[in-house]
Point group: D3
C-alpha cells in the first residue's frame, strides 16, 4: 500500500533479484562555477514518475525488468572519502554481477565507478569538457580531472564525445595521445552521430565491456539548462540517446552526472531520468536476445 | 480609451461579427503529474501582446480579421460538469458558424469541443501521448483518455502526430486499429513532416472538415518547458507550424492545451499564443481565396 | 552505509520500535486556487535534513526518539478512495498505539486521520479558513469542508485558532454553535496566544486525547508563502509553536497540511518540517515525565 | 456562464450602478531600480479570486457591493501622455460621483488621480520614500517626485506614513514645511499606529474628503518582497490595514502602486488585492451608516 | 591578489594596451513588452567566468589577447541623453583605433555605436524584428526603430538576418528599398546560413569595415529564453556563430543587446558572453594573419 | 563618466583615503546544506544601488564618508588556502588603520578577519547556530566551527546573539564556559534586545575594540529567506540593527556572511547591503564625535 516516490520509478526489486542497481551520490563539493548537483538524485527520482513504464521504441516494459534502488550513498565533506564510499558501493554491485547505475552528483564520482571493475574495460564519456587536467585548483580528484585519471590509472580504451571546452593543454594532450579517441561537438554536427558510433565500435571491438558516463553538459543548454557549467553548441538529446542505445549491449555500468536541478524547473532532471530509463530498456532488450 | 490586456490581442470584434471565437477553460483537475494548466488561458492572453498584428509569412494582418474573445468558460470542480459547460459553449459557436478556438486547460476538454460538430469530422491531434486509455486512475474523462473517447464516440477519421509515450496496450491498440493513423516523433524525425502531411491529407480526403488539437507536450521540452507531463525527444515548433498551416484550410475548430505556465518564465505560453495567431492567419488566408 | 535523504531525518526506527510514525499523502485534487501540496511530503523530508537532531529549548535529541517514516500513502485520483487509504493507514498506526504524523497534501486528508480514533477525542486546528462548508463546488470531501465534517461526524470538542476567512454562513455557524470554540487571527493578536491556550485547555479538560491539525495557511504568508490559498494577517511561527508545545502532552495525532512548495524556494517546507520536529520533541518530553 | 478571471473578483456591476470603480494602469517607465509594476493590475486581479467575498471583521459581503472594473487604462510610452490619460479616466469617475480605485503601475500615476478632484482634498500616503524631489534624473513626473508635486500643486493637507528613505534635502524639506505631517517607520514602531491615526484625524479635521495612496513599499519586504525599490524596516500589513480602515469613511479615492509581481511568487499582489478589498468593505460599511 | 568577478573574464589589459574594449550600458527604458536588459552587462560578465580562456575551434587563448573592460557607461533616464553618452564612449574607443564591444541594454543603443565611425561602414544585424519604424509610441529613439535610423542617417550598406516580425509597412519598406538586404529566419532555414553569408560578403565587398550587431532575440527562445520580446521560430546559436566567425575579419565594432536575464536562470547571458568571446577570438585570429 | 555598478555604492574613495574598506570573498566550499554564498558579494553590491546615500535616522550621508571597495579576494578550492588569503587582506587593512568590512561567503571566513588584529579584541556574533564544533564532517575550518576556533585561539571575550540551533554538546559547552556570553533567540524575544545590549556592553567594558560578525541566518527566514541553513524563529531586522548601532562605536571590523542569493529574489542581499550601510553610518557618526 505504500509507495515511496523517492525511489526511482519501477525500482521494485530487491538487491538480490535485481539486474540493475541504481544509487545516488549527493555530492558536489569540487564543483567550480555553479553548485547543486547534490540535489540531482532526488530530482531524477521524482522526475522518473512522469514517465510510462513501457518503452515503445524498444518494446520493453520497465515494470518487467528487475531494478533495485539502493537509495543514496553516504557522502563526506572530503572528496577522497566520498570516492572511497562510492568505490565500495560500486564494487559490491559489480561483484554481485549486477549493472550499477550511479546518479551524481559531480563527475569526479565516475572514477571509483570505473575502478570497481577488475578486468579490462572500455570507457566512453559524453561531456562538453575534456576533464583531462591532472589537478584543478590544487585538487586532484576534481570533477575537472576525471577523464585524465581514468586514462592514467584504469584504461586507455577511452572515447569522449561532445567535447567543446578545455585549456590548450587538454587539446594538445588529446592530439598527442594516439591511443584514445575524442569527438568534439563539431564532429557530432559534421560527421553525424552514426558515423562516430561506427568508429567507436571499431575502436572498442576488443573490449567486451564498456563503462558509459554521461556528463549532462554534453547536451546543449536549451535541452539541459540545469547544469553546473553549461556550455553552448552542444549535442541534442536524440544524439545522446543514439549513443546509449548503440553501446548498451556492451555497457556494464552507467552514470548520469552534473545536473544542477536548481537552475531550471525540471527539464534537465526529467531528461536525465528518461535517459536512464532508456539505457535500462536498451540493455535489458540486448540481454534478452542472448 | 480602455484596453483589457487580458483579452487575446486583436480580439476586438463582437461575437456576432467574428469569424473566430476564442475562449479559455481554466481547468486542470484530472492532470496527473504536474498541475497548473488552469493558468494557461490567462498567460496566453498576456503573451499575445508580445507579437505584431501582421504575419509576414502569410501576409495577413490580424487587426483586419474578425476575432472575438468570450473570456473564460465557467468551470466546476467535477470534470463531467465542466465538459458539459464546454460542450454548450462550443456548440453555440459551431451553431453560429464560427470557428471556435479553445485555450485549455487540460486535454480532456477537447472531447466536448469535437462533440459539438453534428456532421462527420476528421480529428488530428499533435501529442506526445496516445491518450487512448479507456479510463485512468478510475476517471473516464481523464486527460489521458481523450483520444480514445473521440475515436470510440465521435469519429474514426483520426490522426495523431508526435507520439512517444504510452503503455503497451495503447501501442497495440494503434497497431490493431487499422482505420486510424498515428505518427510517432521518430516518424516525424525520420519521414519528415511534409511526407506525413501528404499522407494525412490523403487519408482525410473524404473529410470536408477537420478538428485540430494541439497538446503542447507534442513539442520538445526545450521549446516548451512549461508543461504538465513533459516528454523529451519531441517535435520542433516549425514542424508543428507546418501541420497547422497545411491543415488550416479544412480546419473548423482548434485548441491548444496542457500548458502549465508556472513551470517556465513565459516561453511556452508565448509559443502557444503564437501558434494560435498563426492558425488564425492561415485559416483566414484560405477563407479569402474561396 | 546507505542513507535515503527522502525519509524524514532521524526516522531511523522500524515501525515496531517506533513511538512516532510519519507518513506522507501526496494528494491535492480538491484544492481550489493554487495546487501543488502533493509535493509537500517530499519537500518536508528534504528540509528535515537542514536541522540539528537536538532541540535545545526542550533538551530532547531526536536521534534518541523512536521515529519511523512509512513513506507515502498510495493516492488515487478520486478523493473518496484516497481518504479510505489514509483511514486504513491511520487506523493501523492508532491500533498499534503509536502516534501518527501525517504530512499532507491537502486539508481534506485530516478527516480520516481523526476518524481513526475509536474513543472520544478533542480536535484542535490552526487554519486561516473555517473549512465549515457542507460541500464546496459540489464536492463533499473538499479541503474547504474538513472542519465541518469532523464536527458533524466525529467530535464536538472542537477548537480552531487563527481564522480570518470564510463566507458569512461559516461565521454564523460558529456564532450559533455554542459547543465549539473558535479564535480568529485578530483574537490571537488581541488576547495573546497564552490566554487562548488557557481557555482551550479549560474547554478541553474532559478530553484525554487531542488531535492537532496544522493547516499551514494559519501562518502569515511572510513566514509561509508556499501555500495554496495564502491569506494575509496571519499567525507568527512562534504563536504556532506555542500551541504545539502546550497541547503536545495530550496530543495523540498530528498533521501538517496545505504547503504548496512550488510557490517559494523552501522556507514553508522548512518551517513545516521544523514544527513537526518540535511537536515530536515536545510530545516525547511529556512522555518521559510520566 | 462566462467569467473573465481577469476582472477584479466581485466587480460585477456596470459603471452606472457602481459605487466603486476599479481600473489598472500598466505603466512603469520612470521606475529607477527594478521595473515590472506594469504587470501588477493583471496579478492583483488574478489574486483577488483567492479570497472569500465576505469580510468577517467588518461584516460586509463584497458580493453585495456595487463594484465595476473598467479594465486597464491605455498607456503611452511618455509619462506625461499617460498621466493625461489617467487624469481623464479619474475625472470621469469623480464626476460620476463614484469612488475610483487605481491599481498601478508606478507611484507617479497618483498625481492625476488626486488632481481629478475639484474641491479641497486631504492627501494621505503610505510610502517608504518621501518622493519629495522636484525632479529625478531630469524627469519631473518621476515616481520619486509624486508627493512633492501634490503638495506644490494640489493640497497642503498632506500626511505621509512609513517613511524611511530620502536624500537629506527631503528630510529638511519636511522639517521646514510646518503645514504637512510626516511619520517615519520608526514613528510607527515607537508611537504605535493608533496614536499616529489620532493625530492624523485631528490634522485633517477640516478636510471632508481624503485621497489615500498606498505605495506598497511602505510595507516591510518580508510581507511584500515583490517591489521595485524594497526598503527594509517597514510597516506590517496590520498597521497598513489600520490606516485604511480608520480613514475609509472620509476617503473618496484610493490607489495601490509600485508592486513588481515578477520579484516574488504572488504574496505581494495577494496582499495588494486583499487591502483593496478591505478598503472597499470598510468604505461601504461607513456609507451604510449614513 | 584581487579579482573583480564583475569585469569580463580575461579583460586584464589597460585601455592603452587593449585591442578590444568592452563596456556595458545598463539601459532599457524604451523596451515595450518585458524589461530588464539593464541587468545584462552584469550577468554577462558573471557568466564569462564559466568558460575556459582557450577557444579550441580557433586555437586562440583569450588570456593572450589584449582586452579591456571599461565598466558600465553612465546612463540617464532620458534615452537621448544616454545615446549621447554612448556616442562619446564609442567615439573615444574608435578614435583610439580599438575595437569597441558594447554589452546592452536595449537595441536603441546600437545607433550611437555605429555613428561613432567617421568613414563609410557596412552594418549587419541579427534580429527577429525589422526595427524599421520611424518612431514607436511617439519615441524616435526607441529600440523598435534602430535599424531605420541607421539606414536613414548612417549607411545604406545594410544586411539583416533572422527577421520574423514586423508590421506590414516594414515588410514593404524592405521590398521597396532595393539597396538593403534582409534575410528572414525562414531564409536561414531554407537557404542555409552559408549561402546567406556568401551573398552578404558579395553585397558588402566594397565595405572595408563592418559593424555587427546581435539582438539576441534573433535566436530561438529555446536557446535564449531571457529576452524582452521573445519570438518563436528563430536561429540556432550555431547559425549565429557562423555569422560572427565569417564576418569577424572585417568587423570593427560589435554589440550584444536585448538580453533580459531575469526571465531565465542564466543560459541567455551565458550564450551572450560566449558569443562575445567567440567574436574576440575570431577577430584576433584574423588580425594575427595580416 | 564610467560607473561600475559592481563596486559597492558610494565606495568612491581610494584605499589610501578610505576609513572603511570593503571586500568580498566568494567562497562557500564547506557549506553543508545549501550552497551559493559565493554569489553574495556580487548581489550585495548590486543591491547597494537600491538605497539612498543619506541615512535619515543617523543624519549621515554615505556620499561624504571615505569608503573603498577592493573587489573580491582571490579564493582557492581549499578552505585553508582561502583563509590565508583573507588573513593577508584583512591584516593589510588593519595595519593601515582602516576598518575592514568583509562580505562573505561562508562563516568560516570570519576567523582570519578576527585573527588579523594583534591586540586583544572582543568578539560579538549574531547567528542562529553556535558554530562551536571543533570540527565538522572532518573539516576543522568548517563554517560550523568558526566560533569555537575564535574562542580557543583568539579571544575569550565572546558574545553570541540569536542562537537557536546546535547539538547538545554545544549547549553544554556554553553552559560550562562561564567566560563567554550567549543569548538565544528566545532570550532576544523574552528579555528584549536592549537589555541584552546593556549586559553585553557591561561584559565587554574592558575591551576597547570589538569585532562584529553577522551570520545572516540570525535573522528570521521571513526577512532573510536567501540562506544556506535557514532556521525559523529568528531575530527581526530591527533587532539586528539595534545591535549594530549600539556596538558600532567600539567596532573595528565587521562582516556579513552566509547569504545564498539564489534562494530568493533579492530581499536577503538587499537587507545585507542595507545593514552594511547602516553600520558604516553609525560608526562614522561615532568617529565624528570624538
Ligand atoms: Mn565532466
Ligand atoms: Mn562537463
Ligand atoms: Mn494529450
Ligand atoms: Mn500529452
Ligand atoms: Mn484548512
Ligand atoms: Mn486554510
Ligand atoms: Mn512612492
Ligand atoms: Mn516608495
Ligand atoms: Mn532589435
Ligand atoms: Mn529584436
Ligand atoms: Mn555561522
Ligand atoms: Mn548560522
Amino acid at each position: 500500500m505504500f509507495l515511496n516516490m523517492n525511489l526511482f520509478a519501477d525500482a521494485c526489486s530487491s538487491f538480490e533479484e535485481a539486474e540493475f542497481v541504481l544509487y545516488g551520490v549527493p555530492f558536489d563539493a569540487t564543483s567550480s562555477y555553479r553548485k547543486g548537483s547534490k540535489w540531482a538524485p532526488l530530482e531524477m527520482r521524482k522526475a522518473s514518475y512522469n514517465f510510462e513504464t513501457y518503452n515503445g521504441d524498444l518494446d520493453v516494459d520497465l515494470a518487467d525488468v528487475p531494478i533495485h534502488d539502493m537509495g543514496d550513498c553516504d557522502v563526506c565533506c572530503a572528496v577522497d572519502d566520498t570516492l572511497n564510499e562510492v568505490y565500495d558501493v560500486a564494487s559490491s554491485i559489480v561483484k554481485a554481477k549486477k549493472i550499477p547505475i550511479m546518479m551524481g552528483g559531480e563527475h569526479s564520482l565516475t572514477y571509483p565507478c570505473v575502478k570497481a571493475y577488475k578486468e579490462k574495460i572500455g570507457f566512453v564519456v559524453m561531456d562538453a569538457h575534456y576533464d583531462l587536467r591532472e589537478e584543478y585548483e590544487g585538487v586532484r580528484n576534481s570533477h575537472a580531472c576525471v577523464s585524465r585519471h581514468i586514462i592514467d590509472d584504469i584504461t586507455d580504451k577511452y572515447v569522449s564525445i561532445g567535447i567543446r571546452s578545455g585549456p590548450k593543454e587538454e587539446y594538445e594532450y588529446v592530439k598527442k595521445n594516439k591511443k584514445i579517441r575524442s569527438y568534439t561537438a563539431n564532429d557530432v554536427d559534421g560527421m553525424g552521430i552514426d558515423r562516430i558510433l561506427n568508429e567507436t565500435e571499431t575502436y572498442l571491438k576488443d573490449c567486451d565491456r564498456i563503462y558509459l558516463s554521461l556528463d549532462m553538459d554534453a547536451i546543449d543548454p536549451a535541452y539541459a539548462p540545469g547544469l553546473g557549467t553549461p556550455e553552448p553548441f552542444g549535442m541534442t538529446p536524440r544524439q545522446v540517446r543514439s549513443v546509449i542505445r548503440r553501446l548498451a549491449p556492451k555497457t556494464v555500468g552507467f552514470d548520469v552526472v552534473e545536473i544542477s536541478p536548481e537552475y531550471d524547473q525540471g527539464i534537465t532532471a526529467q531528461l536525465g531520468a528518461k535517459l536512464i530509463r532508456d539505457f535500462i530498456a536498451a540493455k535489458w532488450k540486448s540481454m534478452q536476445k542472448i
